[in-house]
């Protein structure tokens, strides 16, 4: 029983990590249809930001909290820069965007290697994040790691913030307007260029936040982004393009599926099975879990 509960929570926490890294993509890929393979490197930038901040701010807890907004800005700025330099030339060529941004991601990784060195770097987690909370005591205790709870909270907060932004603010309305009908938005006086760049800034900024969170559970190194990027894209694809709720549900479902399979088989087999399950799912619903049915598919 403890095992089942434990694994369920593990699944949820894996899902929270997935959600956090996929959330930025739900904006850039889901809303704007840009396949940005360098998204993983924006996550990396967020993680390195934490590392750099810890050099000047000694308190591990404070530096982590400071790192959240700073990483958001750093990665966001990188994203806006990338949009301005390259992506805006490529909106009509999504596949080329994929390969171009892959090239960008290679260069950013090498840049990180040249600046911070090839080995992973370490950050310190504050003490209140390294412990755990005991949910069920006794001989076979069920504990939940503080860091995982923190990430879960962060993911939920990010989802709420993003959906409120999209729904309530003028910026959100403009983004949705541009997504739904670019030409109409343009003639009604919205600068699509600015909206594109802002949306990209937000999406990439969220990657930076995810990077800060990842320092709590994983390595901080030049290749940390590539390790997660495909999973993140799969979450969006399965969830349905442009569907925040699809992204949320799928992240948690895949997390739980992964943890259950990992427990009953091995990590490698679980990974393969999850991928096979995704392919099978897309056979059933090629447009993902949630889709807006549009009037004309042409």
């Amino acid at each position: 029983m403890t095992v089942i509960l434990g694994q369920t929570f593990t699944g949820i926490s894996i899902g929270a990590v997935l959600l956090l890294i996929a959330l930025g993509l739900s904006l850039t890929f889901g809303q704007m249809n840009v396949i940005n393979m360098a998204h993983g490197e924006f996550i990396m930038a967020g993680a390195y930001t934490t590392y750099v901040l810890q050099k000047s701010i000694t308190g591990a807890g404070i530096s982590l909290l400071v790192a959240l907004p700073v990483a958001f800005l750093v990665s966001g700025a990188l994203g806006a820069l990338l949009e301005w330099l390259l992506i805006r030339r490529l909106y009509l060529r999504p596949l080329d965007t994929l390969l171009v941004t892959w090239g960008v991601s290679l260069m950013l990784q090498q840049l990180a290697r040249d600046i911070f060195g090839a080995p992973n770097v370490q950050t310190r987690a504050p003490d209140w994040l390294t412990g755990n909370i005991t949910l069920i005591g006794g001989d076979d205790p069920l504990t939940v790691a503080n860091s995982r709870l923190f990430i879960l909270g962060l993911a939920v907060a990010a989802v709420v913030a993003l959906s409120l932004t999209l729904r309530l603010t003028p910026l959100g309305r403009r983004i949705r307007g541009v997504v739904q009908n670019r030409d109409l938005a343009e003639v009604s006086g919205i600068s699509t260029e600015r909206v594109d760049r802002t949306a990209f800034f937000l999406g990439s900024g969220l990657a930076g936040v995810a990077g800060v969170a990842l320092t709590l559970v994983g390595p901080i190194g030049p290749t940390m982004g590539t390790n997660v990027i495909i999973d993140a894209f799969l979450v969006i694809v399965v969830g349905g393009i442009g569907q925040l709720k699809g992204t949320v549900i799928v992240a948690f479902v895949l997390g739980v599926l992964q943890s259950v399979l990992e427990y009953s088989t091995t990590v490698s087999v679980a990974k393969v099975l999850v991928l096979v399950a995704i392919v099978a799912f897309l056979q059933w619903r090629p447009q993902g879990l949630y889709t807006l049915r549009t009037r004309s598919l042409v």
């Binding site: 890929f29 249809n33 390969l99 171009v100 495909i230 894209f233 490698s268 991928l275 897309l282």
Partner: protein, 366 residues
């Protein structure tokens, strides 16, 4: 039809030139070592031929060619390992890491050289046919298709690594001694392997060229440009794409199979996401829609990788990244489009005088 004749004549001349380069000039000029490298580059060029067909012509960004390359490579390598071990014996890696005392049933047919040879091409094609018929029928396309094929490449690589006892795990299959009875460490035989690869490449180019210029080739371009429209003409675009995908898979499989005797190793490192993308970059740089461009691009990029990483290892990564960016963002047609641009400019100067004004339809109803 003079134009057609002129084109065929030019193609024939091109083939003769390429054959002379590959079969006479290169072996004379290059040392055994460099010739071996060229053999390896030609293998990636074979994959590029398939990518040119599927992506350049059909618009299918196949980011999972590593899977098919690997299937072909493992089929070939496993046969050679079994042959090296001799009848009744297990290949060396199975003795080291395995627990079984005999070959698993699914490897057993590979002891037969004919089966193995056929499998190097047919196995990838069969896998592509099954995958493709699912994926295309459900109209998974564009970016979805690209991401899905990447995921499959990742899954296949992880699976292979996990099966150490029967596939050699991360090591892959190494230390291959013979190639259908011929010792591979003999430079003469190594040179023959090169010739076989060069011949196979020319053959694949000829095959792809025939496909590109056939009615099917025109239809494939039509599907790339507007799948929906083709559907309204009464074709099933899924089948059109499937053919290109399966042919490309077969080419990657053959390339993988020939890579094994040329390099002496096949491993999951040739299968995952990164190598799969690297297969694409050559074609992209040279010109995805042009066979010659894709082939030269693949060889050029592979050569640049060796040359640059010999001199400046870190620079290679930057250079590779830049290649992607420049080739795709600013020169989507690849280097081949530069040639086309020049040719078109010359042609347009000739025809500029004839004004093309709208013509009102006349004549009988059909």
């Amino acid at each position: 039809m003079n134009l057609l004749k002129g084109r065929s004549a030019r193609a024939a001349a091109g083939f003769a030139g390429a054959a002379a380069l590959l079969f006479a000039v290169a072996p004379l000029l290059l040392s055994d070592f460099r010739l071996g490298l060229l053999a390896k580059y030609l293998c990636t060029a074979m994959v590029a031929v398939g990518i040119c067909l599927a992506w350049g012509r059909g618009g299918l960004l196949t980011l999972g060619q590593g899977v098919f390359f690997g299937l072909g490579g493992y089929a070939m390598a496993m046969h050679l390992k079994i042959a090296d071990a001799g009848p009744g014996n297990l290949p060396d890696f199975m003795q080291l890491y395995g627990t079984a005392t005999e070959l698993p049933w699914w490897w057993q047919p590979f002891a037969n050289p004919l089966f193995a040879l056929a499998a190097t091409v047919l196995l990838p094609m069969a896998v592509a046919a099954i995958l493709g018929s699912f994926i295309f029928r459900r109209r998974v396309k564009g970016a979805y298709f690209a991401i899905l094929s990447q995921a499959l490449a990742a899954a296949f690589a992880i699976w292979l690594i996990g099966q150490q006892a029967t596939t050699g795990g991360t090591n892959g299959l190494t230390d291959i001694q013979g190639f259908f009875g011929y010792a591979l460490d003999d430079p003469v035989n190594q040179r023959m392997v090169y010739f076989v690869i060069a011949a196979a490449l020319l053959l694949l180019i000829a095959l792809a060229r025939q496909l590109v210029h056939s009615r099917y080739g025109e239809l494939l371009v039509a599907v790339r440009d507007s799948e929906e429209r083709v559907r309204f003409l009464g074709y099933n675009p899924a089948n059109v794409k499937l053919v290109a995908y399966v042919v490309a898979a077969g080419m990657a499989g053959l390339a993988g199979a020939l890579f094994v005797p040329a390099v002496g190793i096949i491993s999951p490192a040739m299968i995952g996401i990164v190598p799969s993308i690297e297969f694409v970059i050559g074609a992209a740089v040279g010109g995805r829609a042009s066979l010659v461009g894709a082939v030269l691009g693949a060889v050029g990029v592979a050569w640049a990788k060796t040359a640059l990483s010999e001199e400046f290892p870190a620079a290679w990564t930057y250079f590779q990244g830049l290649l992607f960016i420049v080739a795709l963002a600013f020169l989507p047609g690849g280097l081949a489009s530069l040639v086309g641009l020049v040719r078109r400019r010359m042609a347009s100067q000739a025809t500029d005088s004839e004004e093309t004004k709208p013509v009102v339809p006349v004549g009988e109803a059909a």
